[in-house]
Amino acid sequence: MEITAEVLVDLHHRMVRIRRFEEAAGALFENSEMPGFIHLYVGEEAVAAGVCATLRNDDQVGSTHRGHGHLVAKGGDLSRMMAELMGKATGYNHGKGGSMHICDLDLNMLGANGIVGGGIPIAVGAAFANKYRKSDTVAVVFFGDGATNIGAFHEAINMASALQLPAVFVCENNEYGEFTPRRDTMGVDDVVDRAAGYGIPGVVVDGMDVVAVFEAAAQAVARARGGQGPSFIEAKTYRFYNHHGVQTLGVKYRSDEEVARWRERDPIVLLEERLLALDVMTAEDIEAVHRQVQADVDAAVAFGKESPYPEPSALLEDVYTVGGVR
């Protein structure tokens, strides 16, 4: 895939949608207007946007506990997302899943997942289905640096390699698992060093540079689509907010200086500088995108707030598929 002006504009739009959605969700959360746990994607937008822009609708996406960005980037409906985060009946999961399980199976986004690494084997299963059907559909799975320490990751990526499945493994390396620095939990400098142990190609990209992510993803996806098997992308990125919610309460585990350094490389600002420099968009165009997206997000929040909660009778529905004998 070529980086045309159109692609750049599209990447920008995806990132802004994630950012604005997450800022709104974070504000509601900090204001106790949103139940449960939320893990925000702010700072990491270039990864989801860069990867998902290379995908077709029928390509599957496996996600994590930090999954809003993946769904937005795949084209998720902001209103149904916001309603879900609020536990409303109109949400994607009718309020039963919330942030950690949000999904859109029509978009082939196979759900956020509350178990670290838990979504990886499932995405590999989707990749298997693609190969089984002899389709050229590709399954992409996102996971954190911390997730590469868990058994499910290892088994699943090895399975994809052994069976030569059309899968792309995207590690969002934000250098922390919750409050623990990555370097305390693994003996390698780069997570990508693990790819060789599965006999699959791996690359490191600047996860704050959406174009770099897009290019690496385009290659990996093309490879998978062409039947040449799985590959691994490590995107070096950073979350601007806390592991969970916005503010860091309690023990400070990252220095102000470190956070500031990364914030200077805000992936949206970096892309906007490029868009301006390349004359692809004017400051007004950019401003208009933000305004339009913000209006969409505001509408989503309003939709969520106005939506009803599910009826108590929903409690025991959808535990099983009933009458499921064909």
């Binding site: 199976l105 838990g118 499932i122 959808d318 535990v319 598929t321």
Partner: protein, 334 residues
């Protein structure tokens, strides 16, 4: 030989499994098998013999030793519309994949607000009696029956293997299909054509009037043996083979107990916290006024499965022990 006897088609429990799978795979291209050594080797218990030769490597997939990824493979493929049969060899290995089964497969549909179905069958082999020691002999069905979203099946004979496996694979939910290792070589009646035994329906294997003996899996034959012995003592035992453990056919059980007024539940699993506890608790709730004696429970004692045959034979419940408990229930002095 009568006409009926002449037409009885017999198959081993294990062969019924293989034949059923072959027939279903022939009629439904969405069904595939994945697991360790299921391909060329045909599975460690021969359950998949010949299938890879017939259907090819894409439909009978040898996997790495990776139980979590095997179940995940099934889950992801099922969400994508296929109808996977994934094998975990020994039921003890279910524990290795427990997150994928319980946190993922069982819950996905509900967490997703209903927006998917998950037509996956997990096959495995349970049970003691082969001196396979504590990590290759467990009956862990109680763990799975407690989990909303799963179905659990444990057939006792070749006929039910066929009917239940067919129903399991065609079901749109995750089903754990548990064979008993010691039944694999047992021959019994099995029709040739595919048919379904509906999930959730128990069968009354032996009608009787004095006491209801609720059981499943390998304990069905032990229960029938006990019933014969007890018949000679004048105790008329009704034996119910549950066949499906989740959903549980409580109606059949309760109706029987309301008639017999006595009940014993027998399984090979550990007694404490086994499925027998749920059944006994349920019966006393639903048939309290009908019970002339407490619901008895037969199960393994509270220890891991010992290796040596000298202890394992003490460990596994048998006809004699079941008969003792039935006698105690029936002959109890009010």
């Amino acid at each position: 030989m009568t006409a009926t006897e002449a037409s009885v088609r017999e198959l081993t429990y294990g062969a019924a499994f293989t034949e059923t799978l072959r027939q279903i795979m022939a009629e439904d291209h969405d069904v595939f098998v994945a697991g360790e050594d299921v391909g060329a080797a045909g599975g460690v218990f021969g359950s998949f013999t010949g299938l890879q030769r017939e259907f090819g490597e894409m439909r009978v997939v040898d996997t790495p030793i990776s139980e979590q990824a095997i179940v995940g493979l099934g889950t992801g493929a099922a969400v994508s519309g296929l109808r996977p049969v994934v094998d975990l060899m020994f039921m003890d290995f279910v524990l290795v994949a427990m997150d994928q089964i319980v946190n993922q497969a069982a819950k996905l549909k509900y967490m997703f607000g209903g927006n998917t179905s998950l037509p996956m069958t997990i096959t495995t082999n349970a049970g003691a009696g082969l001196s396979a020691a504590a990590q290759h002999s467990q009956s862990l069905e109680a763990l799975l029956c407690h989990i909303p979203g799963l179905k659990v099946v444990m057939p006792s004979n070749a006929h039910d293997v066929k009917g239940l496996l067919t129903a399991s694979i065609r079901d749109d939910n995750p089903v754990v299909f548990v064979k008993h290792k010691r039944l694999l070589g047992q021959k019994s009646y099995c029709p040739e054509d595919l048919f379904e035994v509906p999930l959730g329906s128990a069968s009354i294997t032996r009608p009787g009037n004095d006491v209801t003996l609720v059981t499943y899996g390998r304990m069905v034959s032990e229960s029938l043996k006990a019933a014969s012995v007890l018949a000679s003592e004048g105790i008329d035992v009704e034996v119910i083979d549950l066949r499906t453990l989740q959903p549980l056919d409580t109606e059949t059980i309760v109706a029987s107990v309301q008639r017999t007024n006595h009940c014993v539940v027998a399984h090979e699993a550990v007694r404490f916290g086994g499925l027998g506890a749920e059944i006994a608790a349920h019966i006393q709730e639903q048939a309290f006024d009908y019970l002339d004696a407490p619901v008895g429970r037969v199960g393994a004692p509270f220890s891991p499965v010992p290796f040596t045959p000298a202890l394992e034979s003490e460990y596994v419940p048998d006809a004699a022990g079941i008969a003792d408990d039935v006698r105690a229930a029936v002959l109890r002095l009010g």
